[in-house]
Amino acid sequence: MVHSLPPRTPRPQPVRRRPRLRLLLASGAASAALVAGTVLPVQPLLPAPQQARAADDGKKVLTVAVSQSVDSLSPFLAQRLVSTTLHRLTYEYLTNYDPKDAHAVPGFATAWQPSASKLTWTFTIRDDSKWSDGVQATAEDAAWTFNKMMTDENAATANGSFTANFKKVTAPDPETLVIELKKPQATMTALDVPIVPKHIWEKVGDFSTFNNDKQFPIVGNGPFIVTDYKVDQYVRLKPNKDFWRGAPKFDELVLKYYKDGDAAVAALQKGEVSFTSGLTPAQAAALKSADNIKVNDAPGRRFYALVTNPGARSKDGATFGNGHPALLDPAVRKALFQAVDRKAIVDRVFQGHAVEGQGYIPPRFGAYFWQPSESQRIAYDPAAAARTLDAAGYRKTGGGKRVGKDGRPLDFRILCHATDPNDKAIGKYLQEWWGRLGIGLKVECLDNVSDPWLAGDYDLAFDGWSVNPDPDYVLSIHTCDALPATPKDTGATDNFICDKEYDGLYAQQAVEYDTAKRAELVKRMESRLYDTGYMNVMAYPNAVEAYRTDQIKSITTMPEAAGNLWGQDGYWSWWSAVPAGDGGGSGGSSSSAGVVIGIGAAVVAAAALGLFVAMRRRSTAEDRE
């Protein structure tokens, strides 16, 4: 269910909580308690309506099921995956990523050149890009966007990390953009900053409150134009016919909200939506055998890790939070990770839809993928874990509990996302694995993990980030620089890690323009991060998605060989999607299961009827009195 991690957010765990209450109320009303389990299954039994895409006027509509709420449609504020995906579709960035291997390809800029000093970058801006209101898009728009982010703190909320090192940005002519840097910056061809139209945005007053969702269509120059948006209901986009790379093939793209994963899958089965993502293993298995549905099981761009609280602290030197002191002992952390069977997690929890965790960056980003050497690897070995604890002085007491030298038992808490089934499932395994070592674990599942996390009030936590083709951001969140300024502030830090050696390497890679040398530095950083032992990557979950082949004839994955469709670093999937011919079968699947569930529902209904009769009898007695 919770699948869409935003690529970058300043929160410790990027799974933003969508407002659940409405869902709860709705399902609460629907479930009416005892029929709870049987009301939902009835849904797929409803007569399948005509396919949505075959609208009356023959428009070819591509409907995508989404669950994550839009945080803002302003490119200066948006951080969630659904919003940044929308911005990819509606605005141009200076450069784009190639769908094959994610190297930088022309976007708003057609060419770029660093100076010999590495401090001045000159971008050539394309002359065939027009804003959707007919105004020519020029280098002036790009310069204005960057200057706004450099001068207005509120405009730097989402992407300020890219412009923090900018000294001066100018547009000497409509086709030239010059960026002067304070020091070299390796991310100059991976500036994930949407360029906005100056003539629209210079009228905006307060960037911290402007959400860009009042006037439609929203003026942009990407392959799609947002024409309508209703919070948690839908986002409608129409193709930009004048898009320089070519107009998209579908007549309309709709992001439709399904807050329940099963409801989205049912809609896909019926043909109401063309695409859905974040499937569970059971859903993927069921859809694989369905007609006209293709399941796309692609290596993910996300890591899924276990982190320990290294002692929360801020830049002013203050420590805060109530993390368990035993976790500051490297031996305890090593023993914990030694007792985690990552293979079992991949096999049993993800049921093969993931890759066993190694280094920090997923293997999909081959250039930066790093694996621990034999000597440093913390392999699964519960017996060794017990020895590690024995050697470090954590003895088992009579009751089978490990206690430290200070007499405090090793009882930990782990922060878990209440909406993520994987967190809960792995929590159960950890409880048993660590329980056998004599370590207690309390799984604290919360809707909002941000509050205890930012306050440092946790021992362990489940953590996960989507990684961009340029790893700068996910590396930056473990530097001392990312710590909050004071305990009251919010820093970009992921887990309060602050390590001098790591920071030194980070500074080196940030100014390294040679990709091979930079990759080498990044790998050394990953090695250092692994050795500090504050986090252990358990798995790289796959992106498990499905789409209707009778609605989408072809679509580009990224990477092209075996890649994902939702949440790409670019607009490739939706821009390239080709509608299928007008055949369009209706979805009539899982009917046998439906019938059986229907019988179950009938039995429950009969029981309810019995209750009702019993009550009736009583009330008639009263009436007769």
Binding site: M1, L21, L24, L25, G28, S31, A33, L34, A36, G37, T38, L40, P41, Q43, P44, G261, D262, A266, Q269, T280, P281, A282, Q283, A285, A286, R348, Q351, C416, A418, T419, P421, K424, A425, G427, K428, Y429, Q431, E432, W433, V443, C445, L446, S590, S592, A593, G594, V596, I597, G600, A607, G610, L611, A614, M615, R617, R618, T620, A621, E622, E625
Partner: protein, 322 residues
């Protein structure tokens, strides 16, 4: 609503008149009370026996209670273990796993039996809590009257019009996730009905002459409330508890289904939630969904049937003329 009146004078099982000899069989006060209670219990059972639905409910409850108590013997404590799960994920029912397996490969039949423990515990405790609060508020308000009663009754009214489920969801959301949270959330949201009933009954009881007599003899508030009022509202409270259990079990299942229960504990509502999270609904794994749903319906029905039967026995006005 109803007003049970069990305080009809009970014929003493002992002959009236002077005691023949001080030495032989002087019935002490305690033994008289014991004998009288036994007699009324027998009478109660005789009447209860005539309600066939009530007997069905009782038999069903006995079956479920026995299963829950014997769960460690029937399935073993290992059934909850994910690391020692015997099967593969989401297996269909077979000879080895009669109801199939869940996403961890654990046998669903074992989980269903184990889940009965939590569902029954939460149902009983939450209903007891709710009725305890309701009785306390009701007796106090009925006994003291005046402005404190008005205030407490307005609070009761406020709770009465609040949708219970919404309030329980809010409570379960703000408190940490555990079984106790669910018990408290159900308990503190479902007491107003009991409070109203008990208050009405208290007022009715207190208008009787013997209360006035007790007061004239110097009986204080505590004495009257605990010795005279409480025994007379107890039957009503008992019936209310039995009925409350079934709604508490349903609310527990609903909360767990909505993901507000303790995810580390196996309960029937939690099984439904697990099934939903695993995608069992859209992938057609009906054997994961149907048994817990039916079990919830069965237990709730059993408690309701018992509760209705008890109510009818204690309040003859409700009896259907035969």
């Amino acid at each position: 609503m109803t007003s049970a009146d069990p305080s009809t004078p009970t014929p003493s099982p002992l002959p009236d008149g002077p005691v023949p000899s001080p030495r032989s069989a002087v019935p002490s006060a305690a033994s008289i009370v014991r004998a009288r209670r036994r007699a009324s219990l027998i009478r109660f059972w005789r009447q209860y026996r005539t309600h066939r639905a009530g007997l069905f409910g009782l038999a069903g409850l006995a079956l479920v209670a026995l299963t829950a108590l014997a769960a460690p013997l029937l399935v073993g404590g290992d059934v909850q273990s994910v690391t020692r799960a015997p099967g593969k994920a989401l297996e269909a029912p077979s000879g080895q796993f009669l109801l199939g397996t869940d996403q961890f490969g654990r046998p669903l039949l074992g989980l269903l039996i184990w889940g009965a423990r939590i569902s029954l515990t939460v149902g009983l405790l939450a209903a007891a809590l709710s009725v305890a609060i309701g009785t306390l508020v009701g007796v106090m308000a009925g006994h003291f009257g005046g402005w404190p009663a008005t205030v407490t009754m307005r609070i009761t009214d406020w709770f009465l019009v609040m949708p219970t489920l919404v309030l329980a969801i809010v409570l379960a959301t703000v408190m940490s996730r555990s079984v106790w949270t669910v018990i408290v959330a159900i308990g503190v949201t479902s007491w107003p009905t009991t409070a109203r009933l008990v208050r009405a009954q208290t007022i009715a009881v207190e208008s009787r002459p013997y209360i006035e007599r007790a007061r004239a003899l110097g009986g204080g508030h505590g004495h009257i409330m605990t010795r005279h009022v409480l025994p007379n509202v107890m039957p009503l409270v008992l019936a209310q508890t039995t009925l409350g259990i079934s709604s508490a079990i349903l609310t527990e299942a609903t909360l767990a289904f909505l993901g507000l229960g303790d995810p580390t504990i196996v309960s029937w509502g939690g099984m439904l939630q697990d099934a939903r999270e695993a995608g069992a609904v859209s992938s057609g794994h009906w054997w994961y969904l149907a048994p817990p749903g039916l079990a919830i319906a069965f237990v709730a029905l059993a408690f309701t049937l018992c509760g209705r039967a008890i109510e009818t026995v204690l309040n003859p006005k409700l009896a259907v003329p035969r």
